[in-house]
């Protein structure tokens, strides 16, 4: 059974329907890419998985999203617990205006996940798992805003890892980065894949082809096609998918 399952998912911003009858199954400990032209609803879909859309007024959702078999939109579902379990990395790196150390410690503190004495060790481990520790070891207490963009994005990933999520949602995590930095983040994703279920939204088809195991192609709020990345890119089943990946529109 998939880690995340969407069933007959419709999503509305007020009267505008942004997602139309989405059905998909995201496998555990794999990287799933969502591709499609601008405005097709990729971010909207991603933000349904951790209920970040709840922050927007006038939204409406029909259908179900199951994570580990449980409908996350059930009335009694614990939003804070959901967001701890399903982490998110954003398009523009957005570390808090705190020190590097505090950025990581934040999640540990709000979820009471560690004793005070254990926090420094966990912070180091998290930074280490995104290969940032060696670069910042001597300035953990300086502002995170002074890091380079790529370092900031890795810090944001580390911040997400700190609360021990099971799923990591990434919304165009590399679109603010240069090619070299992009490559580094992609390498990191490959390492994280062993332990986490990753869903990445990307504009960049090469990136989807490079990093993902499975790919979904969206168009105008519909999930046109979903399957093994290799299949989608070598023999797409739908004419529209083929047009998109061969660059004929979008």
């Amino acid at each position: 059974m998939g880690k995340i399952i969407a069933k007959n998912l419709d999503f509305y911003y007020k009267d505008f329907q942004a997602l139309k009858n989405i059905n998909l199954e995201i496998s555990e400990k794999k990287i799933t890419a969502i591709i499609g032209p601008s405005g097709c609803g990729k971010s909207t879909l991603l933000r349904c998985f951790n209920r970040m859309n709840d922050l927007i007024e006038g939204i409406r959702l029909e259908g179900e999203i199951l994570i580990d078999g449980v409908n996350i939109y059930r009335d009694d579902s614990d939003l804070l617990f959901l967001r701890k379990k399903v982490g998110m990395v954003f398009q523009r790196p957005n570390p808090f205006a705190l020190s590097i150390y505090e950025n990581i410690a934040f999640g540990l503190k709000i979820h009471n996940m560690a004793k005070r004495k254990e926090i420094p060790k966990i912070v180091e481990d998290c930074l280490n798992s995104v290969h940032l520790l060696d670069e910042v070891r001597d300035r953990l207490n300086t502002s995170a805003l002074k890091l380079s963009l790529e370092q900031k994005q890795r810090l944001c990933i580390a911040r997400t890892l700190a609360v021990k999520p099971e799923v990591i949602l990434m919304d165009e995590p590399c679109s603010a980065l240069d090619p070299l930095a992009t490559l580094k983040i992609e390498e990191l994703m490959q390492e994280l894949r062993k332990d986490y279920t990753i869903v990445i939204v990307t504009h960049n088809m090469q990136q989807a082809a490079r990093v993902s195991d499975e790919t979904g192609f969206m168009l105008l709020g519909e999930l046109v096609e979903f399957g093994k990345t290799q299949d989608i890119f070598t023999r797409p089943g739908d004419k529209r998918t083929e047009d998109y990946i061969t660059g004929r529109f979008g």
Binding site: N50, M52, L55, L79, L80, F81, L82, R83, K84, G87, M88, F90, R92, N94, P95, F96, A97, L98, F106, G107, K109, I110, H111, C156, R159, T160, V163
Partner: protein, 290 residues
């Protein structure tokens, strides 16, 4: 074409002059204060002025010790800040982060209304409502005390403090909030641990500008603090501030007398105080921009 250029040139110059005018005014005011105030120290030692414990401008012999006046200003301002900062911060957080729709509009409106309330009205309310209340509660001979001044000043500086704090909180990029919520923080944890630290320099600027507003305020303190030039020991006794001294004595003083110059010397002190406070506020504002 040429005409256009000339017009452009004239407009630019006018705007430049407008901008310069405020700087020139500040310099002129300070120069005037120095010119009228500095001669005082030729006839009265600076040490006695700053360190003297008594302000007896018309007794014999005269004494111009400003210690009670400075401490009066500081205690009233300090009390006001202790009240207005927590209340103002709470209000600013409520307006920026929690209130929605009508509630928010009404709140913002009433704070703007408070901003435009003449200080004499606020002083009047302090005089007839708060002072008797304080007198009764603490069984004092008079309710016209530093505490009364502090409370009224706190009310008066609320709009300044709240609006700057609210701006600072609102200016925190939304992505910080999103990031915090996405890790599973509650709204309050997000405000306390992420938004307020990010807004801290703006909040400090608001505090400093609030202090500046309180130190400089005249009418309210003149009306409600009792105006006794004694060194204050508690908030529950009458005090007299720098501003109230100048305002109440300037009317009767003989021009060119020692007392006249002494009041200008007070003006120099007051001007310097608010200048420093504003400078610190400015420091925080620019720190926030970076």
């Amino acid at each position: 074409m040429n005409l256009k250029k000339i017009r452009e040139f004239i407009i630019e110059r006018l705007i430049f002059l407008g901008g310069m005018a405020s700087i020139i005014f500040v310099i002129l005011i300070f120069a005037f204060l120095l010119k009228e105030g500095l001669p005082f120290f030729r006839i009265y030692p600076l040490k006695d002025f700053l360190g003297g414990r008594f302000w007896y401008p018309i007794s014999e012999p005269v004494q111009f010790g400003i210690k009670p006046l400075i401490l009066g200003s500081l205690i009233v301002t300090g009390g006001a800040i202790l009240i207005v900062v927590p209340l103002g911060l709470a209000t600013a957080i409520f307006i920026a982060e929690i209130a929605r729709g009508k509630t928010k509009e009404i709140l913002k409106c009433s704070i703007e209304f408070l901003e435009t309330t003449p200080s004499v009205v606020i002083g009047f309310i302090g005089l007839v409502v708060l002072a008797p209340f304080i007198r009764k509660v603490f069984s004092l001979p008079t309710g016209l005390t530093a505490l009364c001044g502090s409370i009224m000043l706190a009310i008066m500086s609320t709009p300044t403090v709240v609006s700057i704090m609210e701006d600072a909180i609102t200016a925190v990029p939304k992505v910080y909030k999103e990031a915090a919520l996405a890790i599973g923080a509650t709204h309050w944890q997000t405000i306390w641990r992420v938004i307020l630290p990010a807004a801290s320099s703006g909040i400090m600027a608001a505090v400093m500008l609030g202090i500046g507003r309180c130190i400089g305020e005249t009418m309210v303190v003149l009306m409600v603090t009792g105006n006794a030039a004694v060194i204050p020991k508690t908030l529950l006794q009458p005090v007299r501030t720098l501003t109230a001294t100048i305002a109440s004595e300037m009317g009767e003083v003989v021009q060119g007398s020692e007392h006249y110059f002494a009041l200008f010397a007070l003006g120099i002190i007051l001007f310097s105080l608010s200048f420093i406070v504003n400078l610190i506020a400015d420091f925080f504002i620019h720190k926030g921009v970076k």
